[in-house]
């Protein structure tokens, strides 16, 4: 008898809407999944980024070097008779340096590109910035890029000079010219994530470490004093999920000039990806230092975009306060107001239902495109809103709250979004999109006002 009711029950199941709390569960599960994915794939992506971006190549290098930075009294003379404080003081007087860097790692049998090495020649000037020539060595050829980091001009430029074999590197067939106008927050974020590559910064980090003296030696006919650090206790942002880290760092300083001649870093760590554990070993050497070289401003003039190059964005997904505010502005244009919730699926569906001029214009542009192109265009067009979501769920997720349901652009003094920046301060984006730091007490007052 029950079998006769199957159809009726099936129809009944299908005719009911999904309860609101189930949508919420779905959103939470899905967001949590993405976060977990972000954490576990971070290690994978690291190696790919090494391939793609010299910034991150150096980030890894810097992270590994800075990894060794742990508490030491600088103010003692070592067994070699050289005080590292004097070395640091000497470095502080240097205006420009050229150096070479080589970097190599164990191959990963699961990744065809992993058997790589890096070589670079860099010129760093306190006055003008940094210019590098990077060669990424792959089994399929070399990826060569030129990079300019010009903090005073707030510009970052990366230019492809040579690409590896196209048939085996299919996702990089066109030459690219990356140009990025750096915002203050970009610079802050780069620094926060240890993307600091110049030897001034790196050596300062090294010289603050706890080390032992290696005594005196000779490198390329130069008498040097050596220092070594093997302390595995570290905090490395880029590789924070790594385990069993062992590191052996040696720096050799010219006893006459008190300037570094060579730096060696050998690192071994286990990368844990889900249930898999993989050991990685890599070696970084900075060498051929030319301290206090004279530099010409012309060397730091970024070249024009060569013919046929594709212009690309080097920080496509940087999510910070400024991009979040851009996302909120875009929400007003597309949705007519701030979104009630910051969730990707909600933002997408909101745009689809919206009839604001901007939303209608966007939907008109999407018409007629094939599905994949339409999705790509939508993703590009809604990037500010995506970055708002990313910011809210990432950098601003600490004690975060969002009040888009009640706060409008006219509510200049009402809290639209807030997150905790320290025990004594919260960052608040107000209804008119200006942002301020406030105390917890002030925030409580502001949020109490929302209830009135």
């Amino acid at each position: 008898m029950n079998s006769e009711r199957i159809e009726e029950i099936l129809k009944n199941i299908g005719s009911h809407d999904v309860p609101a709390d189930v949508h919420k569960i779905a959103e939470e599960v899905s967001t949590d999944f993405s976060k977990i994915l972000m954490q576990t794939r971070r290690q994978h992506i690291l190696w790919e980024y090494i391939m793609r971006s010299p910034i991150v190549k150096l980030a890894v290098a810097a992270a590994v070097i800075i990894a060794c930075a742990i508490c030491l009294s600088l103010w003692r003379t070592t067994g070699s008779g050289i005080a590292l404080a004097d070395v640091l003081a000497r470095i502080e007087k240097v205006k420009a340096v050229r150096y070479k860097l080589t970097y190599g790692g164990d191959p990963d049998p699961n990744k065809p590109y992993s058997n790589f090495g890096l070589r670079s020649t860099s010129l760093v000037s306190r006055e003008y910035g940094e210019k590098d020539y990077w060669e990424t060595l792959l089994p399929i050829g070399s990826l060569i890029q030129e990079r300019y980091v010009l903090p005073q001009k707030k510009i970052f430029i990366l230019i492809d000079i040579n690409l590896p074999s196209k048939d085996r590197y299919p996702d990089r067939t066109e030459f690219r010219y990356y140009r990025k106008e750096l915002l203050d927050t970009d610079v802050e974020q780069i620094q926060k994530e240890n993307i600091a590559s110049d030897p001034f910064t790196l050596l300062k980090g090294i010289l603050k470490t706890k080390y032992e003296s290696l005594g005196r030696s000779t490198i390329d006919g130069i008498e040097v004093a050596g220092f070594r650090n093997t302390d595995p206790n570290l905090s490395v942002a880029t590789l924070k999920n790594a385990e069993n880290l062992q590191t052996d760092n040696k720096i050799w300083v010219d006893v006459k000039t008190l300037l570094p001649v060579r730096y060696d870093c050998l690192t071994s760590l286990d990368v844990v990806e889900g249930r898999e554990r993989r050991n990685l070993t890599f070696q970084l050497v900075m060498h051929d230092f030319q301290w206090d070289v004279s530099v010409d401003a012309a060397e730091f003039e970024p070249p024009p975009i060569p013919d046929g190059y594709k212009i690309a964005d080097v920080f496509p997904d940087l999510a910070n306060e400024e991009t979040a505010i851009q996302g909120l502005k875009q929400s007003v244009e597309l949705l007519g107001n701030y979104p009630e919730r910051i969730a990707l699926s909600y933002l997408w569906s909101g745009v689809e239902k919206s009839e604001t001029p901007a939303a209608l214009r966007l939907k008109e542009e999407l018409k007629g495109l094939i599905e994949f192109d339409r999705d790509q265009k939508k993703m590009d067009a809604l990037k500010p809103m995506r970055l708002l979501n990313k910011f809210y769920r990432g950098p601003a997720s600490n004690h975060a709250a969002y009040y888009g349901k009640t706060v409008t652009p006219k509510d200049a003094d009402k809290v639209l979004m807030r997150w905790k920046v320290s025990d004594s301060e919260y960052r608040v984006i107000f209804g008119d999109l200006h942002a301020e730091n406030v105390t917890p007490e002030k925030l409580a007052e502001l949020e109490a006002a929302l209830l009135k």
Binding site: S3, I13, E48
Partner: protein, 166 residues
């Protein structure tokens, strides 16, 4: 596919299909705990099969992923305590037959997991998603007659299995 690109595509696919997945999985599970579990399996399925989710057949793969996720969630449930949840949802209850209907609905949901692939997809699209046969045929890349056939075979299979269970 490079992993950073894979991650970007995953976010696109997730944003695009989370609504459909929610609807299908909720109707297949009717239980918040099962739903949560199935949703996690479905997201994992999306991640593992991203390569198939960019083409024309993406929609139908999502159904396959949802059915597979639902099946795994059910297996865990039955394997864990051997009983079906009574926390059902999704249809009107009347005082006299509430328990029977709830139990039967859950049995039907569980049995859908065990149907052959095309029959399971067809019955989910037809009844749970209330799509017409033309749409089902389009998604299953078959004729309308075949779509009807998949649905009626699925119903027959369900009836036959439930007859032995109830």
């Amino acid at each position: 596919m490079k992993l950073y690109r894979q991650a970007e595509i995953f976010e696109q696919v997730r944003a695009k299909y989370v609504g459909l997945l929610t609807s299908v999985l909720w109707k297949l599970t009717g239980d918040r705990e099962l739903f949560t579990e199935a949703m996690q399996y479905a997201l994992l399925g999306i991640w593992q099969h991203l390569g198939k989710l960019n083409g024309k057949k993406a929609h139908v793969y999502i159904y396959r992923i949802a059915l597979s996720a639902n099946s795994k969630a059910w297996r865990n449930r039955v394997g864990r305590d051997g009983e079906l949840s009574r926390n059902c949802a999704g249809f009107e209850k009347s005082p006299d037959d509430e328990l029977d209907r709830n139990e039967l609905a859950m049995l039907i949901r569980r049995e859908i997991c065990r149907l052959p692939d095309k029959q399971a997809k067809a019955i989910v699209m037809r009844y749970l998603e209330q799509q017409d046969y033309q749409a089902i045929a389009g998604k299953l890349s078959c004729t309308e007659a075949s779509a009807r056939s998949h649905v009626s075979k699925a119903l027959a299979t369900l009836k036959s299995r439930l007859a032995t269970l109830t």
